[in-house]
Every structure is written in C-alpha cells, then in structure tokens.
Assembly symmetry: C2
Homo-oligomer: 372 residues x 2
Amino acid sequence: MTKTVGVVGGGQLARMMIAPAVELGVELRVLVEGEAMAASLAATAVGDYRDAETVLAFARDVDVITFDHEHVPQPVLRALVDAGVAVHPGPDALQFAQDKLVMRSRLAELGAPQPDWAAVADEADLRSFLDDHGGRAVVKTPRGGYDGKGVRVVSDPADVAEWFAASDGPLLAEELVPFTRELAQQVARRPSGQVVAYPVAETVQRDGVCAEVIAPAPRASERLMEVAARLGVTIAEGLGVTGMLAVELFETADERILVNELAMRPHNSGHWTQDGAVTSQFEQHLRAVLDLPLGATDPLADWAVMVNILGGPAAGGLTDRFAAAMAEHPTAKIHTYGKDPRPGRKVGHVNAVGDDLEDAVYEARAAAGFFS
Amino acid sequence: MTKTVGVVGGGQLARMMIAPAVELGVELRVLVEGEAMAASLAATAVGDYRDAETVLAFARDVDVITFDHEHVPQPVLRALVDAGVAVHPGPDALQFAQDKLVMRSRLAELGAPQPDWAAVADEADLRSFLDDHGGRAVVKTPRGGYDGKGVRVVSDPADVAEWFAASDGPLLAEELVPFTRELAQQVARRPSGQVVAYPVAETVQRDGVCAEVIAPAPRASERLMEVAARLGVTIAEGLGVTGMLAVELFETADERILVNELAMRPHNSGHWTQDGAVTSQFEQHLRAVLDLPLGATDPLADWAVMVNILGGPAAGGLTDRFAAAMAEHPTAKIHTYGKDPRPGRKVGHVNAVGDDLEDAVYEARAAAGFFS
C-alpha cells in the first residue's frame, strides 16, 4: 500500500520533495496556488490554501498533510484536524512559526537563549525599548514576514509608524544582537517522538536573503555543535514540531547562540543536505511526517557548500547557462526550481561537497555565477 | 527554455530519471507500455513502442528521444531519425545491443577482448564448437534475451534444438569462460564526443540476475581499473554509443577482462551511482542525451554497495517493511520501483556507502533483507 503525502503550497520546497518521494515510493500530491508554480509538475490540485473547503477536498484520501510554507490559516488547519486528517506540523506547532510574538513567549518559557525582546503596543512602548537597548532595535511584524520583509532596524519609533497604524496588535521589538555570524540548526522530529539533528551550518545573508550556507559551520567547536543540536531538539520537542525544523541562530563573539527565527519545513539553510548528507532534508521531512524512522544525518564529506541562484541571468534563460556551468564545474550539483527569473528571486541553488573547504566554496560560487 | 527528454519505456530505469530531471529542470515525458508501469507517474503517453506512428507522435516536440530498454525495432528507430528526431542512443549504436552476433563481430573488429565465439547455424556447427571448447559452451539467442533468459550452458547440441528450430538465423555460441568474478564498467558519452568513465564495479549474479554490486571492485589493481575504463571508452566510441553504456565483463584468474554483455542505457550494475557518486548514471544519461557537459564520476566514499530487492516480502506489501528496515538501517538508501512484488522480480534496491566495505555490505544486505 503506497503512502500518500499531500503538500499544501507549490513552491520549490514542495518541488524538491518529488525526487525523494519517487525513490521512497511515496505518492506526492501538491495543492498549488496557480498554474505556473515550481512544483506544478506534481500538482494534483490548484486552489486557495486559505479556503477550508479547498484544502479539505485536497486532503481527502491522503495519509498526511504537510506544507511548503507556514501561511495556512489556523481555522483551516483546525478544520483539517477536526475532520480526522493527520496534519504535520500541526496547528499547535505552526502557531509558533506563524506569530513571532507567540514564538518568543514560548521560547522564553522553554529557557531557550534569544535576543532581548518585547511586545510593543505603540510608539511609546518602542521608545522605552529603544532607550533600554542603546537607541537601536529590530522591529518585526509578528505575522507574515519572510526573507527580510516585515523586519526593520529602527532608531526612531516613527520609522515603523505605518506598521503600528496597520497592525491590530503589538509589534515585536528585539535587541539588535552584535552577532559575529549566523548559523542554522536543522532538526527532524516524528509524531511518535524520534528526533535527529544535522550538523549546525553557517549561513550568509545578503539583503535579508540567504545567499550561502556552509555545513558544518567552519571553526565550530564541539561544544558549539552540541549546544546548537541540543537547542534544536529542545525547541522541536517543546513546540511539538513534526517534520523538519530549521532554527536560525545568531552566534556572538563569546560563542553564545541566540534564536533568531524558526521554520517548520525544509528550509533554504538545509539545501546542502541534498548532496552533502546521507538523508536530505526533503527525504527526512517525508519520513518524519509519515512517522517513518528517520534517516542518518551524517555528512557525506568534510564540507558542503550551498550557493543560491538569485534572479537569473541578465540575458537568456536559465537553461541556456547550464552547458557553460556544467562544462566548467563537473562536480557542482545544480538544482533549478522551474521558475521564471526575476530580480532577487530564488530560482535555484548549487551544492558542492568535498574535503577541501576552499575548493567547495569556489566550485559552488563559480557554478552559481553562470546563472546570475 | 526547458529541455524535454522523451523516454520510450516505462520501467524502473525511466522512473529513476525523474528525480534528476526535476532537479535539472528537464521535462521528462515517458511512453509507457501499460497503465501500471514503474514510471507511470511521469507517463505522458501509453502505447506500443513497436508501432512507428505511436512513437513518432510521442516524439513530437521533444528535444531528444531515449530509452528505458533496447527493444524498439530498427524500422521504428529509423523512422524517428528520418523524421528529424534526435535519437540517443541512435539506431546504428542500438543494433549492437539488439543483436549479440552483430555485437560480437563489431567488438572483434575493435580488438576488444571477448570470449571465443561463433555464429552456429545448426546442431552440427554447435557440435564442432563444443568439440573445440572442451565439450561445453554458452549458447545465446542473438536477440531478445535478458536477465538470464535466452542464455543456456550446453554440452549437447540437442539442449538447444528448439532454439534452432525457432530461429531464422544462427545462434551465438560462446566459450564458457572460467571467470573468477564479474565486473561492470559504466561509461557515458555525448553526441559531440565527450566521454567519461566510472570506477569499474564488481557484480554478483544469482540465477542469471544481478544481485549485488560493489564499487569500486574490491582488490582491483590500478591497472585493472585503467584497462576496464579504457575498454569502456573504446566500445562507446567504436559503437557510437550516446548516453550511458554498461559493459559487463568477466575477470579471469590472470586478471584479463573479457566483454560479456552490453547495455546502452542506465543499468542495474550502475545503480550504486545514485548515492555513491557525484553524478548518478540517471542524471548522467540525461546530460549525455541532451549533449550537455558530463558530470564528475568521482565516488563520494571509499565504497558503495548495491543490493537488489527481488520478489518482495512473503507477506504484506513493500511499504509495510519500510518502517522496520529504516529503523534498523538509518544509513541505507532504499529505492523502490512502484511495482507489484512477484517471485524473482526486481522491485527495488538498497544502496549503502561508506569507508568500511564490510559495514556497507552488511547495511545494504540487511536493509534489503526486510523486503524479500
């Protein structure tokens, strides 16, 4: 009996579940938002993920519903659960990924290290937070932000006056952490409890968007690796996450780590696992949401490097560049999302693995360079 | 502009092209023989590959036609070429995979080492061959044999009397080679000429069917690796093969290698490349037939071991066994073909890679053991 996984959302994360689904013999169904989505080739339904009837109809006859993104509204998620559908991650977990204030509160309860933060209801609240934190802070809309959107560094409450005006609740103010670098910890957890952690990776952001990832994080001490993995496991268990969890972290000069963001799905910071680990995050997510035993998270080489392809080439299509990139970089693994290039849009990525970090960085960057 | 590859034949080899096609952004279309084939999930047409009109209609608007098997008749292949369709491998190459007598003649012209052989027209011819070769020989029907079918060890011409009666041409008689083991050399070649070789692998056959593969072949000297790779390249070039070529070899006690069989497509003996090499044979085949630069053939670890899943479990479905196999063997990579289990039928395989050969053999065998 073939198991069937229904994925709500047809972006590249759903698309990258196709390959492991085929090999595992898992039937993948995808509810896409429109015809021209990255995962359209596996699409079995087109419709609005905010509409409970659409999602309920899609969920009929699947073994589990999972997601390409965290934007499915709580009432829709609850309707699925009420209808007896297995939903992973479930609504109780997803609320922490959907609302950054709810997440901050829960992480505080768990004792997870995080930046100083406060719910600020108005400009006066924010002024007071700024006064307590050297006059600068990061302000976030609790809901709906991603890839740098809904995040602003402010020194004057007036900088986010329109956010206060538009919001029906408080904003999130966070201490501006003087971090030395950013890290990402990938963890997978099954509904029945098994949990595994990948080696923590270093992520490099440009303009608020992930640009490069190196796994494991260079110069990471054993202690740091352990602390990050344990923190990931604590959060996955404490928040009841099922499937993949990405914990984005700040590392400080004194080697402390602080939780920046969470994502409850395969995440850009884990794409290196496709070619650099025994079990990719996409296979792992399918195994986890089906409550199958999790795969090994061991790296396949000393280093794995991922470089995003952003925006696409100035002239010509993506595929026009394949021949040149492949000719120069036969060890680079090029992954494309089937999306039309637009400035700043993630349209693919390149992985390179090997036992020499400089080589792997060079190969991944140089191959990606042909596409943007 | 997305490139489109049309695959004639819907078995597991076509199915295993799906994963790399998705990541490369290649559109895969598959002409399947019936509804319930391994690659049915990518099927875009159902029909008879022996019918020129069916195949010509399927070939419309694809960039290249390739194959899951070598059984498409020459007139159909020629009709494709005449219609201006790019066909890889082409009819001139495929004739050598379709007729073992034609192959033996051509390999002799190329000076490739092979067992003594003869075209035997009748029982008297075969008697004479037997007399010259110690009274025993392997007799093969030149066309249509696979996985041990159409192959018989004989000591009396009467053993194949019905083959002579049914055949409209001579049979192939081959010396019974006193081989110490069997090897397989994978090579890929582009239409424009680039050719790459994988490390030669050891294959273990049971009842004429591939059971296990170890790559690289244990205890293989550098000289053997080089000779095998060079032989593979010579054959690919000499026969004009495009796409993947598998050369099945006998190794003798004095470290000679002799060509046993050829396959012009991804082959069971190369499945280890999915998890054990930078570029899998399925990705490589797509790159080769599209005339894209070939990927690196480097192994990802010291050893890769592949064990076939034959026949399926005595009770229950394949997927019932996943949980047990995955729980015990988190490093094993299980690949399933979506086929109903039947005795002796290949329904999947397991790859294990690592730097310890005994561990990898154990993991692959033990994980596969849950399924058969």
